[in-house]
Amino acid sequence: MELLKADHITMQFGGLTAVKDFNLSLNQGEIVALIGPNGAGKTTAFNMITGVYRPTQGEIDYNGKNITGLRPDQITALGIARTFQNIRLFKDLSVFENVLIANHLHLKSNFLEATFRLPRYRREEREMRETSLNLLEKVGLADLRDEKSSSLPYGKQRRLEIARALATKPQILLLDEPAAGMNPKETEDLTQFIKKIGHEFNLTIFMIEHHMQVVMGISDRIYVFDHGVTIAEGNPYEIQNDQKVIEAYLGVAEEDA
């Protein structure tokens, strides 16, 4: 079933076309990767889907509903969560609070009910705490819940950021370079982790990644960007053997990896 569809979305900044005519289709339960050299427009594509930028052309449909031009918080509320390339945790707040905050969008009580701790709020707060604790247990961060999020080691910060995105109860999870800056061991752990959560939370995952090990290991399909243009699309095998991709990208990536 098609969950998300981007139809010829284009993003121009003044004279610069960051992304041109991107057609994306995400089916329920898939893991799809977006790769391409630095500056190819991958994060811009993410920002269009999540509402940070409004595409200059084209339309994005989610569950058959046009979501082009909605605000990021509205898009998250509809079920598309994301992480960031440079980790953006709430640094001064605890691990637990970071996850709790992601539950806030589902809160029904108004601020007076919350301030005066009226019954409905008390019930909701209790539920939020339970689900957040459950989630932290599932991602293996429960014992660190009272730590300041910035005091966690890098790999765990990444994991917390994913957990926080999961707390918004998404259908689609967008991961922006989840393995960036990780050593091979951490990368392997993360790959398994992404697979696991995808399955457990019944997610559709769309990720930007440079690590070929991760991309080739878990992706069902791959899109390849170069200078904002989609130069290839297919399964890992097809991509690895695509002449255009090898020319534009894989040669460079081998040196990096």
């Binding site: 960031f84 992601a102 969008l105 601020f111 919350a114």
Partner: protein, 348 residues
């Protein structure tokens, strides 16, 4: 949780007993200073909600106070006093006979201040950082100029005199306790967490589904509401108000308090509201001059403010966290419980 509630209630009872004895025994000068302390607690804590907890650099607090002060004053002044006050230009008709008891008048003042915050928040809360500061600063000045010119409502530059002196220690400390408890409970609720998330990282907060504008507006309006109440208490404590009272200087004083106490700490704001208010009185000799034995040192008007400004610079340069940083007083910490509390029950 239960134990903390009991401890809070006990301390409120102790506060009430203390007020009773202070009211009986201390002279009116000291009582007045304590009243000012409590009012500044209300103002500093409410400004900290906007600036410290939500991270909105707003400098409009004096404007909200003015709205509250004028509303409360006009609503509590008897008709005869109003007629005396408005001898140049008569007061607008419906206001002449409009009268409310002190408590509802304070709430109307607070609500009007919150409404004004809503009106100006709509355009200015889209701004960030220093742009927001400039816009809100401008708002504060505009309110002052408007109040100087709406003679039929505010009596213009003449100000209002003989406002009933209804503020006393019970009102001021009562509202200070209410403000502190209300804002502490708000901060420790899911909404408070959302506000802190906005302070920490707007982009991340928004992608967590938090409606930035709605939550900023919430913080701004709640802050303005309490600023309005504080203004009302102040006007009815001093007995006279005029537009020039609500210059930027007043906001600056509050800013000094929340920076000194720690942006994002209610406890810090309470402590520094007391320190600064009392120090302003204690250091009066700097302005007035003093005599030690046979030596007379002449005072320099405004020297106190130099001291406070220097203090602010020292804090900003060397102790950016202020007294408390973002730490709060909690019963759990006081009683030294080894286990970390799940929720910080920050109360005074």
């Amino acid at each position: 949780m239960k134990r903390n509630t009991i401890l809070t209630l006990i301390s409120l009872a102790i506060l009430a007993i203390a007020i009773y004895f202070i009211d009986q025994n201390l002279d009116s000068y000291k009582v007045r200073i304590l009243n000012l302390c409590a009012i500044y607690v209300i103002l500093a804590v409410s400004m900290n909600l906007i600036n410290g907890f939500t991270g909105l650099f707003s400098l409009g607090h004096a404007g909200f106070m003015a709205v509250g002060a004028y509303t409360t004053a006009i609503l509590t002044m008897p008709q005869a006093v109003k007629l005396q006050n408005f001898f140049m230009v008569p007061i607008a008709k419906p206001l002449e006979t409009l009268n409310l008891p002190f408590l509802p008048a304070l709430f109307v003042g607070g609500l009007l201040a919150a409404f004004v915050a809503f009106l100006i928040g709509a355009p200015v809360l889209r701004l960030k950082g220093d742009y927001l500061a400039i816009a809100t600063l401008g708002f504060g000045e505009i309110i002052r100029v408007i109040f100087t010119n709406t003679q039929t409502i505010t009596n213009g530059a003449l100000g209002l005199k003989s406002i009933p002196n209804t503020s006393n220690l019970w009102w001021t400390f009562g509202f200070a306790a209410f403000t502190v408890i209300f804002i502490a409970f708000l901060i420790n609720s899911s909404y408070g967490r959302a506000l802190k998330a906005i302070r920490e990282d707007e982009t991340a907060a928004q992608s967590m589904g938090i409606n930035l504008f709605k939550h900023k507006m919430l913080s701004f309006m709640v802050g303005a509401f309490f600023a309005g109440i504080g203004g009302g208490l102040l006007g009815n404590l001093l007995g006279t108000i005029d537009p020039n009272m609500f210059r930027f200087f007043l906001t600056y004083n509050l800013l000094l308090m929340i920076i000194l106490g720690g942006m994002g700490s209610i406890t810090g704001s309470i402590i520094s509201a007391f320190i600064i208010t009392i120090a302003t009185e204690v250091l009066r000799f700097l302005d007035d001059g003093m005599t030690i034995g046979s030596l007379t040192i002449p005072g320099i008007t405004g020297l106190r403010m130099v001291v406070f400004s220097a203090l602010l610079m020292i804090v900003v340069l060397f102790f950016t966290q202020g007294l408390m940083g973002t730490k709060e007083f909690t019963w759990n910490k006081l009683l030294n419980r080894s286990q970390k509390p799940l929720a910080k029950g920050g109360r005074s």
